[in-house]
């Protein structure tokens, strides 16, 4: 993420790759799978990300946040190559999202009748379906924050958007997820 380049020997490059990049490979694979829904595409995206990470390893500063750096590469590869190739249909219009938060609709009424006990009874498939039903840009913020535990600042760097936008998008994504979960709860007969 930095412009200042380091100079590593071949041995150092491999050490960084093994010690700083590879430990995040499962998290990266899960991220790739959750944004593509497809195992083969996720594997391709993962490999592509790791090749790029090694190719541009001079831009990485040893000891800094390797996980965030790798996630940023993966997200960019997904947007610039994979999403175009696969013509991902559920892309959110960023402008539309940001306009929403600058509009009077920001004071929407949020219903809060989803009981915590109902949530606890849900099974993994229902949760997974609810998450997958969100547009990819909303899904990404939830994955980065709730599953991978990135801070708003890290998410801001990974996604190339201001922190305020991270927060507002996260809020919107969570509201949508809650609505999806409520629908599942209703379909299961919970009130």
């Amino acid at each position: 993420m930095e412009d200042i380049k380091s100079s590593y020997t071949e041995v150092q490059k491999h050490r960084i790759f093994e010690r700083e990049f590879l430990p995040h490979i499962d998290a990266m694979y899960n991220f790739a799978y959750r944004i593509t829904y497809d195992e083969d595409t996720a594997k391709d995206l993962l490999q592509d990300t790791y090749y790029k990470a090694f190719r541009f390893i001079e831009s990485f500063h040893e000891g800094t946040n390797a996980k965030a750096w790798l996630f940023r590469i993966l997200k960019n590869s997904f947007i610039n190559e994979f999403r175009k190739k696969n013509k991902e249909p559920s892309m959110v219009d960023y402008q539309e999202v940001e306009t929403y938060y600058n509009s009077d609709d920001v004071n929407e009424v949020i219903t809060s009748d989803l009981r915590v006990e109902v949530l606890q009874d849900m099974i993994g498939d229902e949760v997974s379906n609810a998450l997958n039903s969100l547009a990819v840009d909303f899904r990404i913020v939830i994955i980065l924050c709730d599953l991978e535990g990135f801070t708003y600042e890290e998410m801001s760097k990974i996604l190339d958007i201001p922190i305020g936008t991270v927060r507002s998008r996260l809020h919107r994504a969570r509201n949508l997820l809650r609505e999806r979960l409520r629908s599942y709860a209703k379909s299961m007969g919970f009130k």
């Binding site: 499962d26 799978y33 490999q47 920001v106 004071n107 915590v116 993994g124």
Partner: protein
Amino acid sequence: MEDKKARDFLDCCIINNCGEPGCDNYVVRRDLIQKIIDGQANEEELAMYNNIIDSCVNCTCRQYCEQELAIKNLLQTKLDRKRVPLDVVEKIKTKINKTT
């Protein structure tokens, strides 16, 4: 005191529409609650949150927070975490070794 409670409750525009378009309070509270949920609030913000909750018995922020924490917990505990197939890891390592 009753007036204050009523006012706080009505001011709680995370859940309720406060009736003021573009209300700054909404964004402040939304961001505060979000930080609490995500464990990113500092001490001052935690105190501010507790003050809001304590001063507002009927405050729906508490219920909202509990719900959001439950959803966060649901995501963390019920979604499968896949492991990368070993052949993919080997493929990556082989290609990296070839490039040097």
